[in-house]
Amino acid sequence: MLRLEGIGAGYGAAQVLRDLTLKVRPGEILCLAGRNGAGKTTTMKAIMGLVPLSAGRITLDGVAISELPAHRVPKAGIGYVPQGRRLFGELTVAQNLEIGLMARGSPLAVLDAALDLFPRLRERMGQRAQTLSGGEQQMLAMARALCLDPAVLLLDEPTEGLQPTMIEAIRAAIRETRARGAAILLVEQRIDAVLSLADRIALIENGRVLDTLEAEALRRDHRRLERHLGV
């Protein structure tokens, strides 16, 4: 289980996260929902060790990953799909996936399983990542993270800017990853995505978790979520 216990983090003097606490269980999708600037992406970066903590700690199955150097965090079993994909654009699809495999020394079977979710990537292995379409790039970003065979998968707006068919493919992959037992922390702005994917939803504002709710409750009363997201 991934636990964030009273964490504080920010950029220089600008404090973004303040005493933020949440947990993500294996086999569930926890969605972080909040307005722009609430601290969702910073939470992801703090988990990955890319933003230093000023308070609190982060543990994965009892291991304090917030005390590890950033490059050791993925080795502990955390895969990251950042906002905007951030692929290694000049490298080929195969090289991007190889970097994912190298992160934890995963066997080739893990790559096969990732490619089974996105069979289109098999035809693009020699192509540079920056030449793929937006949807294919998102598939590659997901597959690269899945190559770590992660216990926890962090997804920051994975369907942003994609056409409907691609969105469905990504959502199906997210559900499949949950079914394999991974804990998924998802940042989403789209209410339909939040309601269709999440098991629980953490409402975040000004760097704090205001409330964590079962998704079922919000499906019955999604105006509360709309109010919170400011849409």
């Binding site: 990955m48 060790g49 890319l50 950033a70 490059h71 050791r72 965090v73 993925p74 080795k75 990251y80 950042p82 951030r86 290694f88 654009g89 000049e90 490298l91 090289q95 190889e98 970097i99 994912g100 190298m102 992160a103 934890r104 690269r144 770590l148």
Partner: protein
């Protein structure tokens, strides 16, 4: 000597300059490309390579080839280790901040230069080449409408100079193979493309930085070992390679290895040809003018990518 043979001679001299310059500049380009560090001390790593080559060959004695072969291994290795240590103790501590690393490497430049002056002295010292057979180059003239092979006086080179060109080409091919075909090269390129994502995929970025800084310095030192039998080792010899390397890297495109190579050949050959026909000073003036033109009309360099 007629114009044709004179041009061949100048081109050969330029090719030697280009070969050594390409090695030195690729080291600088590698460091900037992967680490975004402008290493002002790069010329001093070159100088240290030459001084260590003198030291190793003097220490070993015996046949020149033996000492030179040892210098080819020892000097780049020691300089590379020194640079990696400087990275870990200085650059890492200032978090590779672009402005502060410039100041830090200026400091490193003066430390290396003055320590060399205090220990090695101010004299320029020669290193004997491992072999140095004189090779005459034939020229074809037409007498009474028929081609005739002649051996113009002064048209020639040495086996050592040709070996320098060959060795530099082999090392550059090796660097290219490492960067494009090896696992460590893949990690370096990933770090170059996105430092944070490299960390997020378990790449030990700080170790990669130390390796790259050491490798860049070792390439400069290797270039110096190759050229020192032709020039001489002196504690102030780092200035010209630094200036020319910056010229090459700016023209080629910061961080672009193919661009660096093409620009090194362009600058090296033009430096050799203009120096022979006119003067070395004019060659430097024209190279600097070319940099100014590139900065005005194509700031990203010939092969660099325009910033988004």
């Amino acid at each position: 000597m007629e114009f044709g043979p004179h041009l061949v001679l100048a081109t050969l001299e330029g090719a030697v300059t280009a070969a050594v310059l390409a090695l030195t500049a690729v080291g600088l380009s590698l460091v900037f490309g992967v680490m975004r560090v402008v290493n002002v001390a790069h010329g001093e790593f070159f100088m240290l390579g030459a001084v260590l080559a003198w030291w190793v060959t003097s220490l070993i004695g015996g046949p020149p080839a033996l000492g030179f072969a040892a210098a080819l291994v020892v000097a780049p290795l020691l300089v590379g280790l020194l640079a990696a240590a400087a990275d870990m103790t200085v650059l890492k501590r200032i978090d590779y901040d672009p402005e502060r690393t410039i100041v830090a490497t200026i400091g490193l430049l003066y430390i290396l230069q003055q320590v060399t002056l205090m220990t090695y002295g101010a004299d320029a010292r020669p290193v004997e080449p491992p072999f140095n057979t004189r090779l005459a180059i034939p020229w074809v003239t037409f007498a009474e409408g028929r081609p005739q092979l002649i051996w113009p006086w002064g048209l020639g080179t040495t086996s050592y100079k040709l070996a320098v060109i060959g060795a530099a080409a082999a090392v550059l091919a090796g660097v290219w193979l490492v960067m494009t075909r090896s696992r460590i090269g893949l990690l370096m390129r990933a770090t170059q493309l996105d430092r944070d994502m490299a960390l997020a995929f378990g790449i030990p970025v700080e170790r990669i930085y130390a390796l790259v800084f050491g490798l860049g310095a070792a390439l400069a030192a290797l270039a110096a070992v190759l050229i020192v039998p032709i020039s001489q080792a002196h504690y102030l010899m780092g200035g010209d390679p630094l200036l020319l390397s910056f010229i090459v890297v700016i023209i080629g495109g910061l961080g672009s290895l193919p661009g660096t190579l093409v620009a090194a050949i362009l600058i090296g050959l033009s430096d050799g040809i203009i120096s022979v026909f006119f003067s070395p000073t004019l060659a430097k003036i024209l190279a600097t003018l070319l940099v100014a033109l590139v900065l005005v009309f194509r700031p990203q360099g010939l092969f660099g990518l325009r910033a988004a």
